[in-house]
Each structure stands twice: as structure tokens, then as C-alpha cells.
Symmetry: C2
Subunit: 356 residues, 2 copies
Amino acid sequence: METELTRRLAIQYPILQAPMAGGPSTPELVAAVSNAGGLGSIGAGYLSPEQIRQTIREVKQRTDRPFGVNLFVPKQPTTSADAIARMNHYLDKYRIEAGIATNPPIPKYAESFEEQAQAVMGENVSVFSFTFGIPSQDIMEAMKLHGINVIGTATTVEEAIKLESAGVDAIVAQGSEAGGHRGSFLPSKTDALIGTMALVPQIADHVSIPIIASGGIMDGRGLVASLVLGASAVQMGTAFLASHESGAHTVYKGRILTSSEDATEVTSAYSGKAARGILTDYITDMRTYQGEIPDYPIQHAMTREIRQAASKANNPELMSLWAGQGLRLAKERGAAEIVEQTMEQARLLMRNMGRQ
Amino acid sequence: METELTRRLAIQYPILQAPMAGGPSTPELVAAVSNAGGLGSIGAGYLSPEQIRQTIREVKQRTDRPFGVNLFVPKQPTTSADAIARMNHYLDKYRIEAGIATNPPIPKYAESFEEQAQAVMGENVSVFSFTFGIPSQDIMEAMKLHGINVIGTATTVEEAIKLESAGVDAIVAQGSEAGGHRGSFLPSKTDALIGTMALVPQIADHVSIPIIASGGIMDGRGLVASLVLGASAVQMGTAFLASHESGAHTVYKGRILTSSEDATEVTSAYSGKAARGILTDYITDMRTYQGEIPDYPIQHAMTREIRQAASKANNPELMSLWAGQGLRLAKERGAAEIVEQTMEQARLLMRNMGRQ
């Protein structure tokens, strides 16, 4: 199934695996998706430059097909020291629950984006994608000089227009159904949680580069519907989360496979940035926090040890269980099977459409 | 374009006009949609039995095609007298702004659902649809004895399953993109704002009766995408709001035609029930209200005079401007044109699909 984007990225099928930072997108998953004809992607936002180089090499040992690397565009946090200290103190209740030391110093909170980007460029990958903003013109041009396809993420039409002006090759249109972090980077009067059905055609009418639909797409129905709406490909995350190759924690996979479509909500309680995940005791409890939640990446860094300890203790209620709204459609199977079954269903639907 | 639902409802095209209570769904609009081959629908939730009979007759003077009538299933409000009094007092600031008398008595707040339903049955209409719950088994059976097709509204899979068990003939799957009131009627741990792309296939996998997709559907792309996802028809509201035949206030139509996809949010500040509308000063201001917003229909009744006065004064900031997230796709045209252009685009897309 050829589209403008499959040609540009030299992939067989219009299926991109969402770059899921923090564990799920293992080299095995990325390579399996690319080997099956889609585009695998490393969620490298939290990785050091050395870890990025290492992960890329591990993927390359498993595939010679194109794949992508995703980074988070940094934004200077503006939270006051007082608000940070107050949250750090409040988090002690969860640290006690998780059995770790209370009142730790505020941790160092992010990798250098420039060094991460240099690592990506140094390893000759096919696709560089980014979220949370737009990299500097210098980085954008350097990526192009390296022959790398650049993909940005938009949650509104205005963001898509801005990304096209900045010179990206394609745009992920992230609908409100999508799991994980919201890619929003421009101010909006509302929460900018636009459903995929509404977002894709409106972006399609305002940009001329290929669009990748994301949010709630779990099978061939979602793929064909997205192409009809004006997309050239889809990005699927939740569908791959419970795959054999996914690095998601067993308890996390279990929740993905047993939760219903209304199990998620958007919260900034884990990282300081809005993200969609399965409801946990932590999210419910943090709804009533009276202070300000520190900006990303401060909150993310402050909650890291709690999440890690909860993970070791198999306690999902303190873990971040990022997931989209298509949960009832998640199945445990191999990543290649997901790509193949999605394509098979899509081909059948398209044939049937043509007959009507 | 035949589907399971067009056959059942004896309509030509799988396009239903959303029943928009409170003015937009005039007899002219309902008849124009039905005459064009879709299914027009009267939003009768706020009408008295006599007004319902009158409106149905006005539609029948304009069309002999099938059309529908929609009612709101009542639920006993549980708000305390104190909370109601506090809100009534708080609303005085808007009454002053709107130039009407302050501190009015708490108004009588709803029509009798049984009498409304009797009015519908007495007038021999083709379709009865309902929102906010499920009518009693007595009413459901009486509707069927009258040969009326019954359609319920679901925002989750669980609600859809419950509606099917109750014996409805079809289900509107209301995605989070949809404008106006949320049809949710079962408790959910979250806000149950599931995007159309995720909601439709998940409901399709759990019920065997026809599904009508709603939320963010504005043209042929949305129609075909919905059919691909498993729907037998679509329901479009925002697309018809700015039509020539719509009874929406001129100022309201103006906002529909000039707003962007991120202009709306879900609020219960107007009616006591969650509904999606274009952001106004009233919504923004009510975000900071410290008390409890009284349940529907109390809040609706208490804000009615304010909304009516704002409407007379052409002041949109105190009006309820219900709208979905497809706003950039709204155009000023006739209702028949909307049906025809949607069908034309849909046919073209389906032909192209079949060729790939």
C-alpha cells in the first residue's frame, strides 16, 4: 500500500510505531516493526547521548530497514523554587509508600538536547522525529544535510502550520485519543484535546506535506479511516505496548490488556506535562493537590525514583501507565503480527469500499 | 449508498442531522435534511408536549419523508437547596451584566418526559431518539407498538451494551469531538470523553445493532471514515448549525464560521450537565466558581433568562454556543447542499479507495 509517505521514507506499509520513551520501545520492538515493513522508532527522549548511540546500534544489528529516533524539544521550566520544594515535600507520602528515602535533593532533570541530536546525526538513521516544540533552524538544517527525514508533532492546525514553515518533511497529527505525552507546544485558550476524527482533515486542509494520524488507531479500520481523512500513514502506540517485543513492565502490559476505553485520563502529575494514561491511585490522589505541579522535566525527575521503586515492587498504582483510548483493541501478539494483521484488514476494507 | 441503517429507516443517505435542542433544529432544517435524503431530527428536549405536536406538524407540512424527534431522559437532580441558593445568588453578577432582575425565584425546571413521549407517539413519527439515559421499558415497548424506530446515545462501550439490551434499534456513538451535551448516563471513573476514532470500532465489536458515528464528522471524509470504523451512518450537528435553515442566532452562526478547532471546551456551567461549546467569558469565569454547580435541569433553568437576555442583546459571551471540534470545516450553505456535497465527496473517496 503506497502513499506519499511510504515512498518518502522508503517503507512498505504506512504504519509507524509510536516512539514510546521510558522502556516500551526496545531495540527488539523497533527492529520487528521495521522488518515487518513499517517504521519502528526509538523513544530516546530520556536517553543520554551514549545510550542513544548504543540503542541505535542495537537496532541496526537487528534490521537494515529504515527506523526513527524521537527526542523531546526542551523548554525552560518556569516553576518557582518554592513550588518545587512544596511538591518535593508532598511526594514524601508516595516515597514512604514505595519504601524509598524521603526528602531527597531535587535531581538534575534533563539531557542536553543538542548532544542528543548530535548522537542521532552521528549514527546515520533514516528518520528523526521530535515532540514538545520545534528544534532550532541549525539542528533542522543539519538533520537535512545528513539526509535524515524530519517529523514533527502537532495537536492543532496552528502547530501543524508552524511545523511546515519550519521545514519538517511530515507531521504527526496527535489526536486526543493518543496515549502518553501531549505534543502541544503553542498556547491554546483550551486544552487542545482535539479528537483524531476532527484533527486530521482540518490539518490536511492547511498543510501540503504528508500527515501521520495518531490517536485511537489500533487496527486496519483505524488505518483506512485515517487515510480517508487525509493522512498518508498512521502512528500506533498502544497497539504495540502489549506486544511480545515491547519493554513495558508485565504489570503495565496486564493493565493494557484488561482495561476499557474509558480507563484513561490526561494528567500532568507524573512528569509536569499533560499525558494520557490509565487511571491510578497516584493520579486520583494528585487531583486534589492544592499547589502547582512543577513544569516538565522537573516533576518527571522528582517522581522518577518513586516510579522505579513501584515498578520493582510490581505496584501499578504508583507507575505511569501511558495508554490511549483504544484499549479494548489491544492484544498480546508479536509486533510483526500487528503490522501484518492491520494491513490485511485494511486491504479487505479498501476492496469492500470500492465495491459499494 | 445503502447501509443496514438506511434500509431500516427508509432513508436514502446515511446522514442524520443531530437533534439540536434550544433553537437550531427548526422545522425548516429538519425537513430540508429529510427532503435531501438524510434524516432530519427535532431537538425537542426543552419543548412542551403541545410545542412538540406543533413542531412535528410544521415539519410534516414541509416533508413526507421520515424524520426523528429527540428527548432527554430525566434523572432526579440531587443538588442540595443550599448549593442551589448559592448558585442562584452567584448568577446575579451575570443577571446584572445582562440587564435583568436579580435574585429571581428558583424556576420550575423541566417538562414531563412521559407527556413529551406521548406527544411523540401520538404524531406518528418515524424515529424517536433519546439522550442522557434509557426510558422505561413501558415507553420503549409503546414506541415499538407505534412502529417507531428507537435510537439511544452512548459515550462508552458499556452504555452501548446497555442500550442494546434495552431494545433500541440503533445506537449513536457520541465521540468526544461532538458539540452540545454529552450523552453519558452510566458512572465512569473518568470523564468518558472517548474520541470517535477509538469509540466507534470498540462499540462495533460489542453490539450487533447499527451504529451511528457522531463527533467531529463534517464532510465526506468523516462519513467514509466512520463507515470504515464500523458505523452504518453518521450524525452531524456542527455542520448544520451554520446552514441557512438553522435557527441558531446570527451571532452564534458567526462564531461557528470563524472559530478554530481548539475553540471549544466541555463545561457544565450552563445546564448542570457536561456539554461542549465555544469558549465564552461566562465559561472562563465559571471555571473559578468555588461551589457545586447544580445538577441538570436546575442549572439550565436558572441560567435561561440570562442566556435569553444575552441573545436579545447579541452578546455571545453569556450565550451557550454549543459546537464540536470540526469548526474549521463549517460553511454557510443550505442544508440540502451539505447532504449532497457530503455524499458526493464520500462517493469519490470510496471509488478511489477501491482503486488502491
